[in-house]
């Protein structure tokens, strides 16, 4: 029954990929993803997987090769980080537009300039509109579990979409934590035999892929692509239910922490949610009804469910580890869109934190929760968008 280990996030995701044993993996090294794919390359050279690994000259080529392999009819995985994801941009849209269920762990890293190799969410947030499903992970365990579930979600015959599994660069990718691995045969049975849809290598049934589609049909294809996204939530929940049976671990569209009777809360993604939960506990001990919501499925965004979970709050702070210069943070924009249709909604503020790997400290969560307490007391807030942990 599985095994308990000490592993880094990169190691854990590489282990998931070994257990899944994809047909093809085309990748290019980039910090902080490098050590994940290096480990996977060792599995290939040690004969632990049957994967055809393709070492290419750039991330644009990595995603292009993945697209070719997936269209050919194989189960395909790759991984990247920050600027690597940025270089894939054109091909991300090709992968989703062609409905290819490629799975890609994204070890979140900031974007240049200035050059920085550390963790923030600018990379994946920029790819928000690329048509990929996005799952976000707080720690190595979630990154491992999400990677395994990602194959079932993306490859579902009603979905056939690529999936990004996001985990924080260095904070998760390079930190060792306690992990539970599933048995190889359990993972194998869970992800099932890969079934292709209209594969190019089915030469008995010749076909063309990637055609030119002009204004008379393009609009319809995009409408159809949106429709597929509307079916993702249910599949994510079904897959999570199956996953619970093999792992005992529960997943939803998002995680709520002490939120049911809360009056104030923070909405926060990935590793910083762990820190924030501790401070929520401290506030609860002081008798303050604080809570937390941590999104897991960011694309498609579960607007109604998030609105339902947050509707009884008096004030909420949405925390972004990515910025939209001249705009609100990307998570804030989603949550405020979710809450807007309600007649009574909490006061919403937005904090930008942790850019370029700046540590998110317990006192940052304290400052935010204290401000929310003040907002509830006075019914007033200072500014919607502010930076925390920044030197004046």
């Amino acid at each position: 029954m599985g095994k308990i280990v000490a592993a880094t996030g990169n190691e854990a995701v590489a282990e998931a990929l070994r257990q899944i044993n994809p047909d093809v993996c085309a990748a290019y090294p980039i910090t902080p993803q490098t050590d994940m794919m290096q480990r996977f390359a060792s599995f290939v050279s040690d004969g632990k997987v049957d994967t055809e690994i393709m070492l290419v000259e750039s991330e644009h080529s990595a995603m292009s090769a993945c697209i070719g392999a997936s269209a050919g009819g194989g189960r395909v995985a790759t991984a990247t980080s920050g600027p690597g994801l940025a270089l894939m941009w054109e091909m991300l849209y090709v992968a989703s537009g062609m409905r290819l269920p490629i799975v890609m762990p994204v070890v979140n890293r900031s974007l240049s300039a200035p050059l920085n190799i550390h963790g923030d969410h600018s990379d994946a947030m920029g790819a928000r509109d690329s048509g990929w499903i996005q799952l976000w992970s707080e720690n190595a365990q979630e990154a491992y579990d999400n990677t395994i579930q990602a194959f079932r979600i993306g490859e579902h015959m009603d979905i056939r979409l690529p999936v990004m599994v996001c985990l924080d660069g260095f904070i998760i990718s390079h930190s060792i934590e306690r992990m539970e691995y599933l048995d190889d045969n359990v993972v194998k049975a869970f992800v099932r035999e890969y079934k292709s849809l209209n594969p190019l290598l089915d030469v008995e049934n010749p076909k063309s892929i990637g055609p030119l589609i002009l204004p008379d049909l393009y609009h319809e294809y995009k409408r159809a692509q949106h429709e597929v996204m509307t079916k993702v939530k249910d599949v994510v929940l079904d897959v999570a239910e199956d996953f619970k049976k093999i792992s005992g671990r529960s997943y939803g569209l998002f995680e709520t922490y002490r939120l049911d009777d809360a009056e104030i809360a923070v909405v926060i993604l990935n590793s910083a949610a762990g820190t924030a939960k501790d401070i929520v506990d401290e506030f609860r001990e002081k008798g303050i009804k604080a809570g937390l919501l941590k999104p897991r499925l960011f694309r498609p965004f579960p607007y109604e469910e998030v609105a339902h979970a947050l509707k009884n709050l008096k004030a909420v702070c949405i925390m972004d580890r990515a910025d939209s210069f001249g705009g609100y943070g990307p998570l804030f924009m989603e949550v405020s869109s979710a809450l807007y249709p309600l007649n009574d909604r909490p006061i919403m503020i937005n904090k930008i934190y942790g850019l370029g790997g700046r540590d998110f400290m317990p006192q940052h969560a304290e400052i935010v929760l204290d401000e929310l307490v003040e907002i509830v007391k006075t019914g007033k807030f200072k500014t919607i968008k502010e930076y925390i942990g920044v030197r004046e």
């Binding site: 537009g97 062609m98 409905r99 290819l100 056939r160 849809l197 209209n198 049934n205 010749p206 076909k207 063309s208 892929i209 990637g210 055609p211 589609i213 008379d216 049909l217 609009h219 319809e220 294809y221 409408r223 159809a224 429709e227 597929v228």
Partner: protein, 97 residues
């Protein structure tokens, strides 16, 4: 040809009917028209190989007339044609001439 609605599309725009490009006539794109001068033709079939469409009709190993339903007028055939004694067997002419 009826244009399908968004619910009727193949996922990922895959074209499952092999060879259906024959239904899409590209000849109307042409502004220059290739003309075949049979007297200068040495039947090398370069034009047939180089034509990016299927506009050179070949029968029994010999080229015949252009298929103007598909010829886009790109002029590649005229450029590549060696002709006979320095005289091209394909020349490009203005479409309305």
């Amino acid at each position: 040809m009826k244009i399908p609605g968004w619910k009727e599309l193949t996922p990922g725009a895959v074209i499952l009917q092999a060879g259906n490009a024959t239904e899409f006539k590209t000849g109307s794109w042409r502004s220059l028209k290739p003309k075949w001068k049979e007297e200068n033709c040495i039947q090398c079939l370069f034009c047939w190989i180089y034509c990016p469409d299927m506009s050179i009709k070949v029968k029994d190993g010999k080229r015949g007339e252009f298929d103007y339903d598909f010829c886009k007028g790109c002029g590649i055939c005229a450029l590549e044609c060696p002709g006979k004694k320095g005289k091209k067997a394909i020349v490009m002419e203005e479409e309305d001439k």
